[in-house]
């Protein structure tokens, strides 16, 4: 057996350094778009984010000023509707996959959920358009909420399942050995232990659909005024940004920048919230 020569050693060091540099450059490349987007939005949008933006309705064409209050509230309403429909279905589906279900059914459901996650979001808009909007003859907040919920369900389902599977079996056994029923064990022990992970999954799903535009175009439609009934069209921040961005007016462009900044900041805040939720006490396993 021959020992390595000094030459080999130098060449190995160079290769190692090279790999390190390439990996670092890739890392920078991944993060930089986020920084660029955020700073670009700040430059163009920050000037138009003011009190009026959060409190006033859009100004009529030609008039300067106005805000996106209705779109901000509308987006929150849509998210609430999507959550009411999507969270229970997603979480309970995840519980089924992780706690009940046979291996074969589970692998089918998992596969389908992964396909659903990959379906372009505009498809959901068209689906809900066909199912709800045409049938009830009108765009509505309900339709928009449903479209967003359909996007959320497979996301929440998969994260819930994964997080529940991380709960060690010892806790289930300990609870069952106390004479606690299966269902109570799942609700009070398993879900409680996995709660941080599940909440994280829900928040991330909400953040994801909060920025969706395409599925809302065919369902919630958008609205220049306050929405007074959930069965009527409703404004949403992404739609408002879209409408203003393709308009020919400079003032609307500025508002669109401001809207995008607010939306991105919102998503950013949700992610920070997730960080805070998941930090907490070190007691939880997931």
């Amino acid at each position: 057996m021959r020992f390595e020569t000094a030459h080999h050693h130098t060449w190995r060091k160079i290769k190692s350094a090279l790999a390190c540099i390439i990996a670092f450059a890739s890392g920078v490349l991944v993060i930089s778009p986020l920084g660029l987007v955020f700073f670009y939005l700040l430059i163009h949008g920050a000037g138009s984010v003011n009190w009026d933006f959060f409190t006033k309705l859009p100004a009529p064409v030609g008039a300067v000023g106005g805000g996106m209050a209705n779109a901000i509230v509308g987006s929150l309403e849509l998210l609430a509707l999507a959550g009411v429909i999507g969270i229970p279905v997603g979480v309970l589906g995840g519980v089924y996959l992780a706690e009940y279900g046979s291996a074969r059914i589970n692998s089918v459901v998992r596969f389908l959920a992964d396909i659903l996650n990959g379906i372009p979001s505009i498809t959901w808009g068209v689906v809900v358009y066909g199912l709800i909007v045409l049938r009830f003859k009108g765009f509505s907040a309900y339709a928009g909420g449903l479209a967003l919920a359909l996007i959320m369900i497979p996301l929440i389902l998969r994260t819930t399942e994964e997080v529940i599977l991380l709960v060690p079996n010892g806790y289930r056994e300990a609870s069952l050995a106390l004479g606690v029923s299966r269902w109570k064990t799942i609700v009070h022990i398993v879900l409680k232990t996995a709660s941080k992970g599940i909440i994280t999954g829900i928040l991330l799903a909400l953040a994801r659909v909060g920025g969706e535009t395409a599925p809302l175009l065919f369902t919630a439609f958008g609205n220049r005024f306050w929405n007074h009934s959930l069965s009527q069209p409703i404004a949403a921040l992404p739609i408002q940004i879209f409408t203003y961005a393709i308009s020919p007016y400079d003032d609307w462009h500025r508002q669109a920048w401001a809207g995008a900044l607010v939306l991105v900041t919102g998503v950013f805040l949700v992610n920070i919230m997730v960080r805070i939720v998941t930090r907490g006490r070190g007691a939880s396993v997931v």
């Binding site: 609870s175 106390l178 709660s195």
Partner: protein, 277 residues
């Protein structure tokens, strides 16, 4: 419930072996007859017949994979959590068949509690919540009753003096030995008749182990205790009866002093003297 003279163990019949050893215990909590358990195709225990004495400690010993944990878990139907298990034979608890179709496993487990190898206090709960969770989830709401039971259970588990000022702290903040005693307190809080212990000390240091052993000794005044252990010295110290299992069969059963000083079976002797296992 008192049958004074009674066969405790019938050894697995094997041709050419001496006739089964006969022992008697004053009262029996479990009567296990011809019990066989399969996991899928694999037979984990085979034709085991054994009685468990009331208010005594019975230790099940044997090398890994001999079926001792399965036998223990069959006593409160915990082995059923593994899919595709099959059982033949009978397990009577005070004369009631645990496996008859109208028996709810949850009710069985309320009467027959279990402490596990790895201490597993619920990580989202405080020390206090951990102790009373069994009662709470079984529908007990009365706060005064819960508090009384909390103190009583922790005292019985010899943990009260160490944690009485820290009941609001997370259960996982305790040391390993304390966590295991917390798990014992949690089991005692639902007032079972039997406590099963699956290698309760195997993850603990010698001092914590000594405390748990002392505790087991005290608890047998009130409870029937069945424990699985890898540690032969421990079986010798804490148990009144010892069952030796090998390859899914019960090889020998009798008073611990007899098993350890004068085993009837060659395999038992070999195992106890450390020739295998």
């Amino acid at each position: 419930m008192t049958t004074p003279e009674r066969t405790v163990a019938e050894r697995v019949e094997r041709p050419g072996e001496p006739p089964p050893l006969e022992e008697s215990v004053p009262a029996r909590t479990f009567e296990i007859k011809n019990l066989s358990i399969w996991y899928g195709e694999k037979r984990a225990i085979e034709n085991v017949t054994i009685d468990i004495a009331t208010n005594a400690v019975t230790a099940i010993i044997g090398p890994s994979g001999c079926g001792k944990s399965t036998l223990l878990r069959a006593l409160n139907r915990m082995h059923e959590l593994v899919p595709k298990t099959r059982l033949e034979g009978t397990v009577l608890l005070d004369g009631t068949d645990l496996y008859s179709s109208n028996i709810d496993p949850a009710i069985v487990r309320r009467r027959v509690g279990m402490v596990f190898q790895k201490s597993n206090p619920f990580p989202t709960m405080t020390i206090g919540e951990n102790v009373v969770i069994g009662l709470r989830l079984n529908g007990v709401r009365d706060r005064r009753f819960l508090n009384e039971r909390l103190e009583k259970s922790l005292r019985m588990a010899a943990l009260w003096d160490e944690v009485k000022d820290d009941l609001h702290k997370p259960g996982t903040s305790l040391s390993g030995g304390q966590q295991q005693r917390l798990c014992i307190a949690r089991t005692l809080a639902v007032e079972p008749e039997v406590v099963l212990m699956d290698e309760p000390c195997s993850a603990l240091d010698p001092i914590a182990t000594a405390k748990i052993e002392e505790l087991i000794y005290e608890l047998k005044a009130k409870y029937t205790i069945v424990t699985v252990t890898h540690n032969m010295q421990q079986a010798g110290r804490i148990s009144d009866y010892t069952a030796f299992m090998y390859l899914g069969r019960l090889i020998e059963f009798g008073p611990t002093t007899q098993i350890f000083t004068n085993p009837k079976d060659r395999q038992t002797e070999d195992y106890i003297t450390g020739r295998f296992g």
